[in-house]
């Protein structure tokens, strides 16, 4: 292959005038992490509520939960990004739409909301599976003790369910982290977008994407290590 390797490129100044190419990639990494964490907060909150809705005795609550999951799980993430970013401001009242469009860092907020809602549908499925994996007797025991439904969930079902689903939740978090790269299509300058603009400016394609790959792997290894510690800390004793 006729390719001019240049690993020193990371210490060259980028033409954006804000520092070296390495600085550019690291600023991308920062946006990736911030976006992933903010989206995860939304995903975990909504996902828990929707997951619980799907296991409640009420048929109406189940229907709402099902509708949410099927809507957000069955539309490709890329399409959802476009809908939130391009279509939403147009269907809102004009003054709201204008406000949204002129928001500083609009791609970031859009990416967080979109990714949060999307990942929530997946978290909801994990939560539902976790609750349904518990023996039926636990719910019955709660009722027999005179606990209300809310109390049964709060004190009996959820503390067990969350412990069971910790490993699959790690996977969901990793997916969430990697899915932030989809946001480059709406202009979020995260890690993949930065690697792309680096190769655009310097033409050192393989160096740029190798660096991005290594950064993704490193950050994901950190996540895996932390969640391994959490799993040991919260394991149900005796199981």
């Amino acid at each position: 292959m006729n390719y001019n390797w240049n690993w020193g490129i990371f210490f060259d100044l980028s033409p954006e005038g804000t520092g070296t190419y390495a600085d550019m990639l690291l600023s991308g990494l920062m946006w990736t992490i911030v976006t992933a964490l903010c989206a995860w907060v939304i995903a975990f909150a909504i996902g828990s509520v929707v997951g619980v809705l799907r296991t409640l005795p009420s048929r109406a609550a189940q229907a709402v939960g099902n509708a949410y999951v099927e809507l957000f799980r069955n539309v490709p993430l890329l399409v959802q990004m476009f809908l939130w970013f391009f279509v939403l401001p147009e269907v809102l009242p004009e003054s709201w739409g204008t406000w949204l469009k002129q928001l500083p860092n609009a791609p970031f907020y859009t990416a967080v909301v979109c990714l949060g809602f999307f990942t929530a549908s997946r978290v909801a499925e994990q939560v539902r599976a976790g609750i349904q994996a518990l023996p039926r007797g636990q719910r019955m025991a709660g009722t027999a003790l005179g606990l209300t439904t809310a109390q049964t969930y709060r004190y009996v079902l959820l503390p067990n369910a969350y412990r069971i689903i910790l490993p699959p939740m790690t996977s969901e978090f990793l997916n969430n982290l990697k899915n932030t790269s989809v946001a480059l299509t709406i202009g979020l300058l995260e890690l993949t977008a930065r690697a792309r603009s680096m190769q655009e400016f310097s033409f050192q394609v393989f160096e740029a994407f190798t660096a991005a790959t290594i950064l993704y792997i490193l950050i994901n290894l950190v996540v895996v290590t932390v969640s391994g510690m959490l799993e040991r800390r919260f394991a149900v004793p005796g199981r």
Partner: protein
């Protein structure tokens, strides 16, 4: 059987021109052996290289590349040279050139000193400079007229950096909005949110020509940067191939056909929607056509 038939021809060839037959290396050797040359095209670099109504790659750079293919065929004395077309994007063009999938990239790739460390470029086929597009009704024609106004440019481009530097240097108090792509930036001028869109002039021309009312827009005469050259990209350090390509493009640009091809794509309606870019050949480009050069230095043009 086929080899035996060819043998006398090969021997005759060796006898006539022993040196040239032995010296074939790199891309020329590959083309001769496979009987194929691969052109890389872009799907939406209007009017350089893009897909027309029937999904066939056409454009100004494609026309030039077909000329180069004819020259290569003549140089290698081949009866038949198959032209294969391979789509490329801004992310894939370098790896595909480097690993030998694509022999010539026919598009709108800027030739600069940094990129020459990685690939080679043939003679410049276009020059672009940073200008702005504005509505004729808003009465701005020079960069100084933008003082205190709101302008838009595409984020992540060198153009937005140039307007930022210009603004700081001249203390003009211009508000500069970043847009995520060219279409959105142009929309901001169309809807009046920004008075001007600062970008490569050729992109502005195609956006204005494709708009609802092309007559309502004007492109500034003065430019923020020196003209930057576009070149057809080929593998680095392949001097014999580059020599053939350079000779072919130089001859083409100097001939009346070069000018005619330029006019065909930049001053006449082009497919698929019959828009007219109305971009007559600039003076620096006329000079670059008279004295073809592959220099990446804007000061040379």
């Amino acid at each position: 059987m086929r080899l035996k038939c060819l043998l006398p021809v090969v021997i005759a060839g060796l006898a006539v021109a022993p040196a040239s037959a032995q010296e074939l290396t790199g891309t020329l050797k590959k083309i001769k052996e496979t009987g194929q040359i691969t052109l890389g095209y872009r799907d939406s670099s209007v009017p350089f290289s893009y897909l027309d109504g029937s999904q066939k790659p056409v454009g100004y750079a494609m026309d030039i590349c077909h000329k180069i293919v004819d020259a290569v065929k003549a140089d290698l004395k081949l009866d038949k040279l198959e032209t294969r077309l391979n789509p490329v994007t801004s992310a894939t063009r370098i790896p595909l050139i480097a690993n030998g999938t694509v022999d010539l990239e026919c598009g709108s790739t800027t030739n600069n000193a940094d990129r020459q460390k990685q690939v080679g470029f043939t003679n410049t086929h276009f020059l672009t400079a940073t200008r702005f597009v504005a509505k004729k009704a808003s009465n701005v024609s020079k960069f100084e007229d933008l003082k205190g106004k709101t302008v838009v440019s595409t984020s992540g481009t060198t153009n937005i950096r140039q307007i930022n530097e210009y603004n700081t240097e001249k203390k003009l108090g211009i508000t500069i909005l970043p847009a995520k792509d060219h279409a959105e930036a142009f929309l901001m001028v169309e809807t009046g949110r920004a008075v001007a869109f600062v970008m490569d002039d050729v992109l502005l021309a195609s956006l204005a020509a494709g708009s609802k009312d092309p007559g309502a827009y004007m492109i500034s005469a003065d430019a923020l940067s020196k003209p930057e050259p576009y070149g057809i990209m080929l593998r680095k350090d392949d001097a014999p191939f580059k020599k053939v390509v350079d000779a072919a493009t130089a001859a083409f640009y100097k001939s009346p056909e070069g000018k005619a091809t330029y006019d065909k794509w930049f001053t006449k309606p082009i497919p698929p929607r019959d828009i007219n870019l109305n971009l007559p050949m600039s003076e620096p480009l006329q000079k670059a056509f008279a004295q073809p050069s592959d220099s990446p230095d804007p000061a040379m043009y």
